[in-house]
């Protein structure tokens, strides 16, 4: 049976202010936007699975990342290639730059923060334009091994770069990724979660935008047994512009969860979130949570979030929950849309009635579904790799 849920909620004003800073009190349950953060693992209770933040996640498949039982038994191998314009460093835990992009907002993120031994810092120096993409390849620790990681990408003022973050391999991985675009920087980060089928990854992404910074993020989730990614965008000054896109292709048995929070704390910032996913196969499961918080000071905010799911076969399930909290009426725009659709027999019939064979018709429909978003990937190799991966996914099930 095909199942899907769609929840929408929205609220205007009157949220109690609380939390948001290190070690502060937990926020009231009514707000999803104001979030408690801490670098201390014990500041977070061990989640049992019923909490709002965890209710969609199969806790057993977290392999102990959430309860302290997953000690590091291996390490991540990180390779950085590409533009010579970027400065690449491997640093220890004491490097004072670490953590400036954002603090952990759940127990796994805090666990990862406290468990990594070395971090990779990629810096695009001030006023530098990195012509070629910087590719950071992260190899998992191997089957049944656990590793924690930390990556920081920092685009200094008025710099410009595209970074590809390519996760591969297998194992159990907890990590934090800081993506910092300082004043007037233009930073694009494409993150590809293309693990082996056994892998578990819980990743917390912290984007931090300075004044007039332009941040582009493209998440691609294909592999893994369980992949859960939290992406928080913090607007630290006015004029920030974030476009957050994602595609996922969830196969039978996979759990892929994307949780977004656009935290508009400053005036005149823009955020646009678009995620599209296709699901196929027994117990394929995707979760998309799109939270937007527009704080009282964030006048002139313009935000939109959209999630669309295409359920290709019986037995797959998509959950999609957009949520908008607005604390000021002086905004340019705020909206969300969310949909879960079955693979459309009428579309297939129409294409087939023009002589197009079934498999090709199916490919056309799915490519069409992803098309507009894939066109936004400006790196040809990455886009082609994705298109090929999608074709391969379709051929594999061949329903």
């Amino acid at each position: 049976m095909t199942e899907s849920t769609l929840e929408t909620s929205g609220r205007d004003g009157l949220d109690e202010q609380a939390g948001g800073q290190r070690n502060s009190a937990a926020p009231p349950r009514s707000s999803r936007g104001h979030r408690f953060t801490s670098y201390d693992v014990e500041a977070f209770e061990v989640p049992g699975g019923r909490e709002e933040d965890w209710r969609f996640t199969p806790m057993k498949r977290l392999r102990g990342l959430h309860d302290g039982s997953a000690s590091a038994t291996g390490s991540l191998r990180v390779e950085v290639d590409g533009s010579s314009a970027a400065k690449v460093e491997t640093v220890g835990r004491d490097d004072e730059r670490l953590g400036t992009g954002g603090a952990p907002a759940d127990r796994v993120a805090a666990q990862s923060w406290n468990s990594f031994t070395e971090a990779t810092v990629v810096t695009i120096p001030k006023e530098t334009r990195a012509a070629d993409p910087v590719t950071v390849t992260v190899h998992g620790p191997g089957r049944d091994s656990t590793a924690y990681g930390h990556l920081q990408v920092r685009a200094e003022p008025m710099s410009e770069a595209t970074v590809v973050l390519d996760y591969r391999g297998s194992g159990v991985i907890g990590d934090n990724v800081e993506m910092i675009a300082e004043e007037s920087a233009r930073l694009s980060v494409i993150t590809i979660h293309d693990f082996e089928g056994d892998a578990t990854q819980v990743s917390s992404e912290h984007a931090h935008l300075g004044k007039d910074a332009v941040f582009r993020h493209f998440a691609v989730t294909l592999g893994g047994d369980l992949v859960r990614v939290n992406t928080k965008v913090t607007f630290a000054d006015r004029g920030g512009d974030a476009e957050i896109l994602g595609v996922y292709f969830t196969d039978g048995g996979q759990h892929q969860e994307h949780r977004l929070l656009m935290d508009h704390a400053q005036p005149n910032c823009r955020s646009n979130v678009t995620y599209k996913g296709a699901l196929q196969g027994d117990s394929a499961r995707s979760v998309w949570i799109g939270d937007v918080l527009i704080q009282a000071a964030a006048e002139g905010t313009d935000t939109f979030e959209l999630n669309r799911n295409l359920v290709l076969t019986e037995g797959a399930r998509a959950d999609s929950v957009p949520n908008l909290e607005i604390e000021t009426g002086e905004i340019a725009g705020a909206g969300h849309a969310s949909a879960i659709g079955r693979f459309d027999d009428e579309q297939l019939f129409y294409l087939q009635a023009r002589g197009i064979p079934y498999d090709q018709a199916r490919r056309l429909v799915v490519r069409g579904f992803f098309g507009e978003i894939l066109q936004k990937i400006t790196i040809d190799e990455v886009r082609e790799r994705l298109e090929a991966a999608i074709d391969e996914e379709l051929a594999a099930v061949g329903v």
Partner: protein, 257 residues
């Protein structure tokens, strides 16, 4: 010369109250070079006949036969039927977001012709066909039928008819929802197709107005899921004058006799 023979065709559709028989034994033979107008009141099963021939999964053929030059069409998949030379211009063409009209047309032409048309020749061909139907060139980059008006969708159905050049065309209420100008443009397109060679046309319609543009060789009156009377163009004139009243009880009479 080609023939499309429909023999004692029965088909049903699943409804909430169970399966319901819509086609109750259709007999009809269309030969190439002929245009058959197929007329009936709403709910008589005209569209069901069109979809059943094309192979829509919603309609379940329970008995009977559809032969294209002696080959059993009902055993073919939807796309095989199209490649064998059948074309259905749909009453409600489907939107396919993200698939451009040009990509769609080229894929369809490649499939029905058995090889990809040469690009230079193809571009010219499409351009001319679009011009004939007064379709703006910008449509080729738009998603299939997405956001098209009713009239634009119908023009694009006829554009496909022109480019795919089937042996037989079933036109399901292609005239509905068209204003006078669009009706003329679409009718001209259908006439060009008829004149392009030995083509068979099954023109399904509720009203007679399109028959002023497209002269049928035969007219069939369809009531209660079967043909109750066949004749020449004069039958359409009678329907124009007096409507379907005379035929409404005819099926019962046929059944009782």
């Amino acid at each position: 010369m080609a023939t499309l023979e429909i023999k004692d065709l029965h088909a049903e559709v699943e409804t909430e109250e169970g399966s319901k028989e819509i086609l109750t034994g259709v007999n009809l033979t269309v030969s190439s070079g002929e245009t058959h107008a197929f007329m009936g009141p709403n709910g008589s099963g005209k569209s069901t006949l069109a979809y059943a021939i094309a192979g829509h999964p919603k309609y379940n053929v329970t008995s009977g036969s559809v032969l294209l030059d002696g080959e059993e069409v009902l055993e073919m998949s939807v796309d095989e039927r199209a490649r064998a030379g059948l074309f259905l211009a749909m009453q409600y063409p489907v939107e396919v977001p993200g698939v451009s009209m040009s990509n769609f047309l080229r894929s369809a032409a490649t499939a029905t012709r058995g090889e990809a048309p040469q690009i230079r020749h193809w571009v010219k061909e499409v351009k001319q066909a679009m011009g004939n139907l007064e379709i703006d060139e910008s449509f080729s980059e738009r998603s299939v039928n997405e956001g098209f008006s009713g009239g634009e969708k119908k023009r694009h159905e006829i554009l496909q008819l022109d480019l795919l050049d089937p042996k037989f065309a079933i036109l399901d209420e292609t005239d509905s929802g068209l204003d006078v100008d669009a009706l003329r443009v679409v009718s001209d397109g259908i006439n060009r197709y008829r004149e392009s060679g030995d083509k068979g046309v099954l023109l399904i319609t509720h009203y007679t107005r399109i028959l002023k543009h497209i002269k049928p060789d035969y007219v069939h009156v369809f009531v209660g899921g079967q043909v109750v009377e066949s004749g020449g163009p004069e039958l359409a004139d009678e329907l124009e004058e007096s409507g379907y009243v005379r035929f409404a009880n005819k099926k019962e009479a046929t059944v009782q006799s």
